[in-house]
């Protein structure tokens, strides 16, 4: 009976089912009738909600390379228990981005063209190759988790031999990719609002994604504890929170310096939708979390840790959405709001990503230590044996 547990109705299962059904209908509309009929995109504003979510998916996946580098290159093994969740998040984040890109392409059947038709002068070319290469790296980084489950020791040994090389490649591709999203907007200086346009946009994108990616790991740890009744590793998470604090301060100093140097402070005094959203982005995504996280007691308090992670993620969402949508709205001359199909497909993919994360966490040793307890419990009741597992 246990294998049918997932069929038991619950509030979130019903909501998820409705979203997925709606999303499938919209996906049919998108591919049957084309972008023009199913979206509110237009010729002068061809990038909308889906591009914004591409930025979010990639940005929130940044913990994958950050944590992998921290543990495997800098040998800070304190964070080892969160390497797998971070890589899984990155893997799912990138899969979400790939799905959204296929939906967003005018001619999705030609998605493979950049593989053989190289245009080395295009930023899009760099982005495409970074996605391909980093997704491959993530697959290799996550493969041991799947292989462990099926006790395939030989392939694990082979992968371990190349693991450092794979991690270094991952850091390189991910760094290139995170910053190349910023570079994408360097080619539209007249279109992106000056509050967000900057020659340092690639650097901003890179620095901000590290804080957001780490916050995502904190947020996911709470989701995991909520779903599987596991404990919260406060010692690790408060360490992450300190790294987020440093990242946010660095990002703020960089932004402020750049605003002063480029003479952009004047734009902060002009009342506009852009200015209000910029203030909101900086307030909830930087200033408020910096205030919370700079207090050691609050950083070690699970409630404030959760609140600060939600704030940093919210600020990051605002930032990426502001760059991709708010910042270009005025220059496109039209007010864009996504259509039902755009919203529905996006929600469906987000729900599928959450379900995929839940499925993998439930069935594979991702949250090592915490998860192994449940596996022990299941194995014990199934086999009634005294098999012992030591979590190290």
């Amino acid at each position: 009976m246990k294998s049918y547990d997932f069929l038991k109705p619950s509030f979130w299962k019903i909501i998820s089912a409705i979203i997925i059904i709606g999303g499938l209908y919209s996906t049919y509309n998108r591919f049957a009738h084309g972008l023009g009929a199913s979206t509110n995109l237009y010729d002068t504003g061809p990038w909308g909600l889906w591009i914004g979510f591409d930025f979010l998916g990639v940005g929130l996946a940044a913990a994958g390379f950050t944590i992998a580098a921290t543990v495997h290159i800098f040998n800070i093994h304190k964070f080892e228990p969160i390497v797998r969740p971070a890589i899984l998040t990155a893997f799912i984040g990138y899969s979400l981005v790939v799905c959204l890109l296929i939906v967003d392409l005018g001619r999705p059947e030609n998605f493979w063209h950049p593989l053989i038709m190289w245009n080395v002068h295009s930023v899009m070319f760099e982005i495409t190759w970074c996605i391909i290469c980093y997704s491959t790296v993530l697959t290799l980084e996550f493969a041991p988790v799947v292989l462990e489950k099926y006790n395939l020791k030989k392939p694990i040994r082979i992968l371990k031999k190349f693991s450092i090389g794979v991690v270094i490649a991952g850091v390189i591709f991910s760094t290139l990719h995170q910053s190349s999203f910023g570079s994408l907007y360097l080619i539209v200086p007249g279109r992106l609002h000056p509050l967000w346009y900057s020659s340092l946009l690639p650097v901003h994108f890179f620095i901000s994604c590290i804080g957001a990616g780490l916050s995502m790991i904190i947020f996911e740890s709470f989701l995991n504890a909520r779903a599987f009744n596991t404990s919260i590793r406060m010692n690790i998470l408060s360490g992450l929170a300190f790294a987020i604090l440093i990242d946010l301060i660095l990002e703020f100093i960089l932004k402020l310096t750049e605003f002063i140097a480029a003479g952009k402070l004047i734009y902060l005094t002009i009342p506009s939708t852009e200015a209000y959203l910029f203030y909101l982005e900086v307030f909830i995504g930087t200033l408020l979390p910096v205030y919370i996280l700079s207090n050691k007691k609050l950083r070690e308090d699970r409630k404030w840790l959760f609140i600060s992670s939600v704030l940093v993620i919210s600020g990051f969402i605002l930032d990426r959405m502001n760059v991709s949508i708010t910042g270009v709205a005025a220059s496109s001359g039209k007010n864009y709001f996504p259509s039902f199909d755009e919203i529905s497909i996006t929600l469906m993919l987000v729900v599928l990503a959450i379900l995929a994360f839940r499925f993998v966490v439930k069935n594979f040793p991702v949250f090592t230590g915490e998860k192994s307890l449940q596996i022990i419990g299941r194995e014990r009741s199934a086999k009634n044996s005294k098999q012992l597992i030591v979590s190290e």
Binding site: F11, W12, G48, L49, G52, K78, E80, P81, F222, A225, R226, N229, S231, I232, R233, M234, N235, I236, S238, T273, L277, L280, K297, E300, R302, K303, L305, F306, I307, V310, I313, S314, I317, L318, M321, N322, I325, T326, Y336, F337, P338, G369, S372, L373, Q374, I376, G377, R378, R380, S381, K386, L388, I389, V390, S391, E392
Partner: protein, 222 residues
């Protein structure tokens, strides 16, 4: 406005999830309520916070049920506050059979060892060396051992909820008395204590460390 809509949707989903959990009689792990939250006089910031789903034993360890017969075990806030500089010395081997009162694990405090006794009969299933190496910040999150045991809530030597909170507050008071009673050496405590002053945390710790055997007898016996 798209940016605002996306953020509000994100926050709205979190809010709805909180309400769903509240409707189900559960609490989000970030906002897990304690039965009692109180401060004690001996340490400046020793709050009594006991999560709902835990049992405390008189040997100052907590137990949390994972699944049928499996319990996660860690040390409670009282031990954590009493010894901020202790480190793990000895773990039980997975598979070891333990009887009520056997040494479950050992800490090193200075150059002495502190034995924590098992409040149940059972078999050690798993140990958590990774987290045990780290400093304990949140004692009720950092587990050390998983044990396979019979139902523990049916036994009398466990406390939960309000009873646990009242008991542990009493324990902190007893600890204060213990520190005073063992503070004959004024060089350690300072004369201020006799005028109603409190020993600073490091001094209280030093006294407890110096009289570790007495501490074990007084606070860790079952």
């Amino acid at each position: 406005m798209v940016a605002l809509s996306v953020v509000l949707t994100f926050l709205f989903v979190i809010l709805i999830d909180m309400l769903v959990l509240k409707f189900q009689g559960k609490t989000h792990p970030a906002f897990e309520n304690s039965f009692v939250e109180d401060t004690v006089s001996i340490f400046d910031d020793a709050k009594i916070v006991i999560p709902k789903n835990m049992f405390l034993s008189k040997s100052h360890i907590w137990l949390k049920k994972l699944s049928k017969g499996l319990y996660q075990i860690g040390i409670d806030n009282f031990l954590c506050k009493s010894f901020t500089n202790m480190s793990f010395n000895k773990f039980p081997e997975p598979g070891n059979k333990l009887k009520f009162g056997d040494a479950l694990f050992e800490y090193r405090v200075g150059n002495k060892t502190l034995k924590i006794l098992s409040p149940v009969d059972g078999i050690v299933s798993s140990i958590n060396k990774t987290e045990s190496r780290d400093k304990i910040i949140d004692p009720y999150s950092q587990w050390q051992v998983i044990i396979q045991a019979e139902r523990i809530d049916a036994q009398n030597n466990f406390l939960s909820g309000k009873k646990a909170a009242v008991w542990i507050k009493e324990e902190f008071k007893r600890l204060e008395d213990f520190v005073y009673a063992h503070s004959g050496n004024t060089e350690l405590v300072g004369a201020t204590m006799y005028d109603g002053g409190k020993p600073v945390e490091s001094v209280a710790e030093k006294i407890i460390e110096n009289y570790l055997e007495d501490f074990e007898k007084e606070f860790l016996k079952l």
